[in-house]
Symmetry: C2
Subunit: 383 residues, 2 copies
Amino acid sequence: MSDLGTVAVGQSGGPTAVINASLAGVIEGAHAAGSKVLGLRYGIQGALTSDIIDLSAVDTEALAHTVSAGLGSVRYKLKAEDYDQILKAFDAWNVRTFIYIGGNDSMDTADQLAQVAYQRNLPLHVVGVPKTIDNDLPFTDHCPGYPSAARYVAAVVRDVGLDARAMRRIYFLEIMGRHAGWLAAASCLARDVEGAAPHLIMLPEHSWDERLFVSSIDEALSRYHHCIVAVAEGFKLPEGDVHLGIIDPFGHVRLGGIARQLAELTKERLNLPNVPNSDILGYIQRASSLSRSEVDLQEAREVGRRAVEVAADGQSGFMVTIERLSSHPYRASYGLQRLDTIANETRKLDGAFLVSGRYDVASEFIDYAAPLVGELPKSYRLY
Amino acid sequence: MSDLGTVAVGQSGGPTAVINASLAGVIEGAHAAGSKVLGLRYGIQGALTSDIIDLSAVDTEALAHTVSAGLGSVRYKLKAEDYDQILKAFDAWNVRTFIYIGGNDSMDTADQLAQVAYQRNLPLHVVGVPKTIDNDLPFTDHCPGYPSAARYVAAVVRDVGLDARAMRRIYFLEIMGRHAGWLAAASCLARDVEGAAPHLIMLPEHSWDERLFVSSIDEALSRYHHCIVAVAEGFKLPEGDVHLGIIDPFGHVRLGGIARQLAELTKERLNLPNVPNSDILGYIQRASSLSRSEVDLQEAREVGRRAVEVAADGQSGFMVTIERLSSHPYRASYGLQRLDTIANETRKLDGAFLVSGRYDVASEFIDYAAPLVGELPKSYRLY
């Protein structure tokens, strides 16, 4: 077992409902190894600005049950001149273990630090902990954060589906997912009876087919007198992404508006008197306290604990992964994957999860996602 | 005790999280009185189109726990020629009791029917059951539907507050409330520590004060490094309502966009590089299964049961009201109010619930609303 020194930990990228459970796991792992643990405020920026918190006395149970990133988070792209400063700070704080909890961009940051430390022969172990509601990291069955966000989306789409059914309305709901439709796909998971919402699921993995779109809405209206469309923000019309014209530090354009655009198209094509209602589900979907998945809470904490163990085993440059052993009952174990194979890769929905000729997902997707999300309460229907 | 005949019941206006609990209460009340109970599909339209369901065998427990309007709902303004048709249908079905569950417009419909039946000396008893997330019916302490929607709003604003805190962001959230700010005001109910979200609460009852707006955001940013603005859709800028240019059958314009407009103004006035994020909370806030209030569920059911008892007492032309007896512990009893004094009246936030010189609500509002919403889980903070 190698000397962990002080464990530094940071949270990065968009918050989730369980990213604090992973932080709690890291703290518990460090305690178990007899190490001090330092929190970097606002991710890697905390190392650059010496903005750190001693996490030794944290109530990890209470922390694990609080949504969003308790240390503060950041979207910061490392510059070449940052390495020296970060490594010097780590050295000054006796940090020999760095755990970074985040998504694609954060694994890139962790990978760069691991590589520079290796090249310089420094005694620093860097381990990544996966976190993203987008579920788009490769080499892991799924990402902590996704099951809880998926559970929220499933419950919301069921509820707005019952609302639209009562009002005999068409309703478009725009769900997060830039390149991959994992979260919008989860909108189907509370579909408990024939005709239940959503009636169309439109993902970045789907291509635009106007005839299919119009005929699917038409069919839902004539059969069920309402129609719910769950659309990923990254669904593409031929003219490209619908966005707000704002760009983040990683060069990502802020998306938003596809639901409204599809609603306007629907009015036109179906000759409706008004534009159907549409909403963007918004920030609440990624870190809601109202519908966290039990599997997610447990796994998020466990990957945090494992990350410290991996460093204690003398390994660096890896991300902890989740490997599914069985779906019924759901069981998983944990593995490792090299950071340089993960960084900036995006995992789209597997082909087997899609169906052709319909804006929907295959039953294989439900088999995959349902055990992660857990059981959702049934609704009772009078007609 | 007068002969109820068959009890007809309808749901009207926007769905809520507990309007089915009121329906369950009506069914239970009819059972207790030994009466048959018929559901009108899509509110009063069901009487016009003979679209009815026998509710005798309904599982009222399961129904009470399902959100949205299980019978279907409607926004329909009665025409003069409708009265004959409805009263004829009621007579054919042996309906001598009509219970209408709804908000302002629905109480107007119920009032008209009660008056026509009275003028014609028909043996029909009409009783209204209050329902609205807007909480804007007069003469009742609050309306079933409001506590649950308020609980949802409070939890969401706490959660997006933690998200914005982690990301050091300004965020505008637009909450339902056309003429009255009851629901947006509830955004403060999970504010558990100094500096917790929301930092500004902007209601239709507030007037526009640009200096106050800008300085309040500025202050939140410098003290807390993030700022959450909870704004009611009906908050008015000097140029009037921000809306989508769509009008419903009652002549109400569909609102939407004030959050985005305030965000754009904030960019301009604070010289920000980007427009701050904003979301419209959307339809989910009115009928979410994720955060129903226990008080609300019980009261919604009880007002349904009482409505049948009121008819059995031989009374007609009344709405059941809730009268608060005490806040700590919370206790209420039930009363009656004439429908003609309620119809189309809007209750705004009481003056005592507002503060001057701040975009916020007074502690008196918290004393009023907190017992309705119930306890919300605390969040744990690292800094």
